[in-house]
Symmetry: none
Subunit: 189 residues, 2 copies
């Protein structure tokens, strides 16, 4: 027994959401109805054709002008940011971030905090780190809170230099100069 129209249509929605790359033909075979029926269903549900679906998915990535980075991709928590100017984040060092032997935070976590802060600072949807010169000034231990401050010091075309200083209390634990590369020139999104 074939599914009813209602059932088919609601499954169709899921099917297409799940995989927008599916053609009417494939759907017709899947639901064992004619291609025309699928087309009618799409009409009724106002689901655009394959190419339009794909295009809109592609456009999202490509033309989305919003900000550099979804917030959940940042290591540490950003507490203040003024794009292309400065940004601040905090990062609480936990047991999983330290060496078992000496409970000193592993360098790459401090680097990651600073690096993602530098990325988040750049007002562009494609920001990459080109170079960095960093210094680990003092060991950081489990339980400490690292406050990282980033400041864009100069921009030359697509390259922006960001200075990052991380501290625990008043003590500087990490310093870094990041040369960031952006996809378009400053302001010219």
């Amino acid at each position: 027994m074939k599914k009813t129209k209602k059932v088919r249509q609601s499954e169709l929605i899921k099917k297409i959401e799940d995989n927008p790359f599916v053609t009417d033909d494939e759907l017709a075979k899947f639901f064992d109805v004619s291609v025309q029926t699928i087309r009618l269903d799409r009409m009724e549900l106002s689901i655009p054709e394959l190419r339009e679906r794909i295009k809109s998915v592609a456009e999202q990535t490509f033309e989305d002008e919003v900000r550099s980075l979804p917030i959940d991709e940042v290591i540490g928590e950003i507490i203040d940011v003024e794009l292309d100017d400065y940004a601040i984040s905090i990062f609480d060092v936990q047991k999983e971030h330290v060496f078992q032997r000496n409970s000193i935070a592993r360098g790459h976590h401090l680097f990651a905090q600073a690096n993602s802060l530098a990325v988040a600072l750049i007002n562009d949807d494609l920001a990459l780190t080109a170079k960095a010169a960093i210094e680990f000034c003092k060991p950081v231990h489990s339980g400490q809170r690292v406050v990282s401050k980033a400041r864009a010091v100069r921009t030359d075309g697509r390259r922006t230099t960001v200075e990052v200083t991380s501290s625990v209390g008043k003590e500087v634990v990490f310093k870094g100069e990041f040369e960031m590369y952006r996809s378009s020139e400053k302001g010219g999104e």
Copy 2:
């Protein structure tokens, strides 16, 4: 005067990279040549047709949706090490290591691989990174395998300089010079 074939083709590459949504027809008008010429150019440069371009852009975004994970403890797998001399590790870039937007590996993962390799290289139970100068030479994408090679280039008291080069295939993607600090002088484990 029309541009030469070479000039046109190199501009064509940029044009399409800049906006993959452009049709042959638009390109033909832009360069004031026939559509066939544009097609021949694409053939020679093996640039896929509009739909394929859009599709691949869409596929990238779609595949990377809904994924974001905290960084792991194990950064790469060490496959060879000669203490205080050299070390090699491999790191397979997965979806969770890249930016959702553009599928480029986030810098701190490459740093983490290199940094932990430098740490592992030092024949001491307290090895810390003091400074580092790093360079991200080429973007790394999901699915690629990064091979990192570290070599101790000089030791001065408690400080050892380690040079790390990471490659995907034959292409260098990351270079770094790490100044490592150890708790005791060389040989004193």
